[in-house]
């Protein structure tokens, strides 16, 4: 469904419903704030580098910005990708210091969430900012196809490591499924958006 430049899928609504239902710690508003700042960082970078935002897509596997950026180049891509986590990091520090000043536990909580968002998005998985920046960096340093292969291998290794860790946690802790859920979510995200790319890599080489 599309409203102007923003589109979203049913999966996104399901995601919202699930999170809302189980949100005991009332962290959803803070997560939304951290996400807005994160995307704000990307938007600012796109704008500053002369790109043009075409569309914002909200899906089950997260949020995607489509932009027209032929003039941006790989270094620009790296900057755009990293500006999201950077904005989160800035928010985390700001919230933490403000929290200390005001004596507010909620602000510390926001700082922790924002820092977590930054770290998570810097994971070397292609769907996340870290993996995308890494791919662009490798594309600059070596052949693009090699960069792509390394990127695929890294993403899969990371996802499977998380799946394994999540499974271990699930068994050891007596059904703690948090990490496993995150890993499965990443796997779905990887398969959905990169299915063709995996085929491409397999067929060509």
């Amino acid at each position: 469904m599309q409203f102007g430049r923003v589109s979203f899928t049913g999966g996104f609504i399901v995601m919202i419903a699930l999170v809302y239902l189980f949100d005991v710690n009332n962290f959803v508003p803070l997560v939304v704030l951290a996400a807005l700042v994160h995307e704000g960082g990307h938007f600012a970078a796109i704008w500053a580098l002369g790109g043009r935002t075409l569309r914002l897509h909200l899906g089950f596997v997260g949020l995607r910005i489509d932009y027209e950026g032929r003039r941006v180049g790989y270094p620009g891509e790296i900057v755009i990708a990293l500006m999201g986590p950077a904005a989160n990091l800035a928010l985390a520090y700001a919230a933490s210091f403000l929290g200390r000043y005001l004596g507010s536990e909620t602000l510390f909580f926001l700082a922790g969430i924002s820092l977590g968002a930054a770290v998570f998005n810097l994971l070397p998985v292609y769907q996340l900012d870290g993996g995308r920046a890494l791919y662009c960096f490798m594309a600059l340093a070596m052949d693009v196809d090699w960069a792509w292969r390394v990127s695929c291998v890294l993403s899969c290794a990371m996802i499977f490591a998380m799946l394994a860790a999540g499974l271990l946690l699930f068994i050891w802790s007596g059904w703690n499924f948090t990490l496993l859920t995150v890993a499965i979510w990443l796997l779905i995200s990887y398969c959905k958006s990169e299915g063709s790319a995996i085929r491409y890599a397999v067929n060509e080489y």
Partner: protein
């Protein structure tokens, strides 16, 4: 061969996919919207049902894993005076349940258990001035579908004025600290009979304290009663054993659920005499005091949690 950036379709050409069947997409979206609306309605108008559902799912991920505290601790380090390593220690503590050791061997009760008569319930004293100090919170209307909380007949006030005075005096130096979100210093009456789990010297009361393990001010969510290793401890009230197991921070511990949203925890034990799923009676011998887990000496760490909020057990029972 080197590809130009503009031709890199992996970065630039992925946004052309269109949904094929419009009506099917619309139907799917409609179903999702109905689902979301349902969830909102359930959360808004049937808090009882939500509680029941959460009570089934959340213990799996929430028990022993205080996500909020862990995340807050991380956020706190960014600006500061708590070192990063100490924060990591905090997080490991908060996630202590994740590192559960091998299942605890549940020792069977010795052949001839020591003679024990349950301690009597404390008498309810009427002390008007205390009500001014501790506002009795409004009684929630319904908890769950089955657990209906009756209106209290008469306001019950903290058991001893001494306990309240000591508590307030003890907390005074820490008044500049924000109270944790899941702790309350007010008194909430309990709708069942209960008894002290042990009798002994309170070595570390509920509330803010100078934490011996991390060397800093931390909120203590339970009451520590110093006792010799091997001293029996007893169930606070009738209830069911949710956990009887070991984790890094609590050592061997028991978590009981008494209904009405009330949980009690008995930590750092040396022996446990019950298993998860068992039903216990008030005053039943359930374990022995020890110093397992993060502990500086043999003691019972007793926690009382009412509707998700930790409360001062000394307002309910006298340990001395």
């Amino acid at each position: 061969m080197r590809m130009r950036y503009g031709d890199d379709r992996r970065l630039n050409g992925r946004n052309t996919k269109q949904s094929g069947d419009g009506s099917l997409t619309a139907l799917r979206l409609f179903a999702c919207v109905i689902l979301l609306a349902g969830v909102i309605v359930i959360r808004a108008f049937f808090p009882g049902a939500t509680e029941v559902m959460r009570a089934t799912v959340l213990p799996m991920i929430e028990e022993d894993m205080d996500y909020r505290s862990a995340v807050t601790a991380i956020g706190e380090t960014l600006s500061g005076d708590v070192g990063f390593l100490e924060a990591i220690g905090d997080i490991t503590r908060a996630f202590g349940g994740a590192q559960t050791e091998d299942a605890v061997e549940v020792t069977t009760l010795p052949e001839e258990p020591e003679v024990y008569t349950p301690l009597p319930s404390p008498p309810a004293l009427i002390l008007p001035p205390i009500e001014e100090v501790f506002a009795v919170p409004e009684v929630p209307v319904e908890i769950g579908l089955l657990l209906t909380r009756p209106e209290p007949e008469e306001p019950i006030v903290p058991e001893t004025p001494a306990a309240v005075a000591v508590f307030l005096a003890h907390q005074e130096p820490f008044s500049y600290h924000a109270l944790p979100w899941n702790a309350a210093i007010s008194y909430e009456p309990l709708q069942f009979e209960f008894t002290a789990p042990v009798l002994g010297q309170v070595s570390s009361p509920f509330g803010f304290r100078y934490d011996p393990i991390i060397s800093g001010v931390r909120f203590h969510f339970g009451t520590d009663i110093a006792l010799y290793t091997g001293t029996p401890f007893y169930a606070f009230a009738d209830g069911q054993v949710i956990y009887a197991r070991a984790c890094v921070s609590f050592g061997k511990y028991i978590l009981l659920y008494h209904g009405y949203g009330v949980y009690t925890r008995y930590a750092h034990a040396s022996a446990l005499y019950v298993q998860a799923g068992d039903y216990v009676e008030r005053g039943q011998w359930i374990g022995r005091v020890g110093s397992t887990g993060e502990s500086t000496g043999p003691h019972l760490h007793f926690e009382l949690r009412v509707n998700g909020q930790y409360r001062n057990a000394e307002f309910y029972v006298s340990f001395g």
